[in-house]
């Protein structure tokens, strides 16, 4: 099992599997109490609609987020990760094409 003093996680540990992650061991929690902004609310609504229409499951959404490379995973905002995943899934499922999104 990984040495707690290491900052670099074992390559076996997925990017999103953050419980106890040494990288954030001493990071204070930013107490952002603001409600989601317009962007976040709209992404959230889109996700809910697509789920209701059985075009996307929460498990697929999570899987898509987990596939985001670590650099992007840690630099994108929460709802940008959602948008990245939803977009990739819509393309994967052939519901939209990359060309249609340009």
């Amino acid at each position: 099992m990984s040495d707690p003093s290491r900052i670099t996680p074992s390559p076996s540990v997925a990017t999103h599997d953050l419980g106890g992650a040494p990288r954030f061991r001493c990071a204070p929690v930013e107490r952002d109490e603001a409600p989601p902004g317009a962007f976040g609310k709209r992404v959230d609504a889109l996700r809910q609609l697509l789920s209701q229409k059985q075009l996307l499951t929460v498990d697929e959404l999570r899987r898509g987020i987990e596939a985001i490379p670590a650099d992007d995973y840690f630099s994108l905002s929460y709802y940008e990760r959602w948008l990245r995943s939803i977009t990739a899934l819509m393309i994967e499922k052939g519901i939209v094409t990359e060309e249609e999104l340009r």
Binding site: H16, D17, L18, G19, G20, A21, R23, F24, R25, A27, P28, V29, E30, R31, D32, E33, A34, P35, P36, G37, F39, G40, K41, R42, V43, D44, A45, L46, Q48, L49, L50, Q52, K53, L55, R62, I65, F74, S75, L76, S77, Y78, Y79, E80, L83, I86, T87, M90, I95, V96, E100, L101, R102
Partner: protein
């Protein structure tokens, strides 16, 4: 922060919605209705469920044995929602809720999760340094209280039933509900009775 960090993100969202709208998959009306519905959930729902449990032993038993049924009983439609679990604090045990893998949260009875709940720091530290986290919230636990951190890894969503604070004897449901903040329901704070007439904070 949930604000996008990349300047092209709003445009990408708009392009995706435009493509889906053009194919008749979603409509603007549906998006607005979905946002409005999500806005209706708030932590006051969970707070009221707790307040009622402090006053009514039969309700308390229902809440702890079947949180989903309890939510339905107070008018929250749980159709299609994940099952709700409620965890009982005692004089010797305090619960703290987290989702280390993503951001699972009992939205039906608490509304949107706050950004800090979804943050890397909270997700990383809650399971390993819960007392350090509680200290950041100014929350101190009595001697002999153990912390039980609940990692929401699968189908359930979890909420805390805290211990009713001292100094609330005779309070009605509304007054008790006001004590139960979202932070209390997640377990980062404890409910505190503020004496009538005293300044808050």
């Amino acid at each position: 922060m949930s604000a996008p960090v990349r300047s092209d993100s709003p445009g990408k969202l708009a392009a995706l919605i435009a493509a889906l709208t053009a194919k008749g998959i979603v409509t603007e009306d549906e998006l607005e209705a979905s946002e409005a519905q999500t806005d209706r959930a708030s932590p006051e729902i969970g707070a009221r469920m707790v307040a009622r449990a402090w006053l009514d032993a039969a309700w308390r038993r229902l809440l702890l044995s079947d949180g989903t049924a309890a939510a339905e009983a107070i008018g929250v439609s749980m159709a299609g929602a994940p099952p709700l679990g409620v965890l009982e604090d005692t004089a010797r045990r305090h619960h703290l809720i987290v989702c280390t893998l993503c951001s699972c949260y009992p939205r039906a009875v608490l509304g949107y999760p706050p950004h800090w709940y979804k943050s890397f720091a909270y997700r990383a530290r809650a399971v390993r340094d819960p007392r350090g986290l509680l200290a950041e919230w100014g929350t101190s636990l009595a001697d002999g209280v153990e912390v039980r951190v609940v990692d929401s890894t699968a189908d359930y969503r979890w909420m805390v039933l805290p211990v009713r604070p001292a100094g609330t004897e005779g309070w009605d449901e509304d007054r008790l509900t006001a004590l139960v903040t979202r932070d209390v329901l997640v377990g980062v704070s404890l409910p505190q009775a503020i004496p009538a007439g005293a300044e808050s904070g």
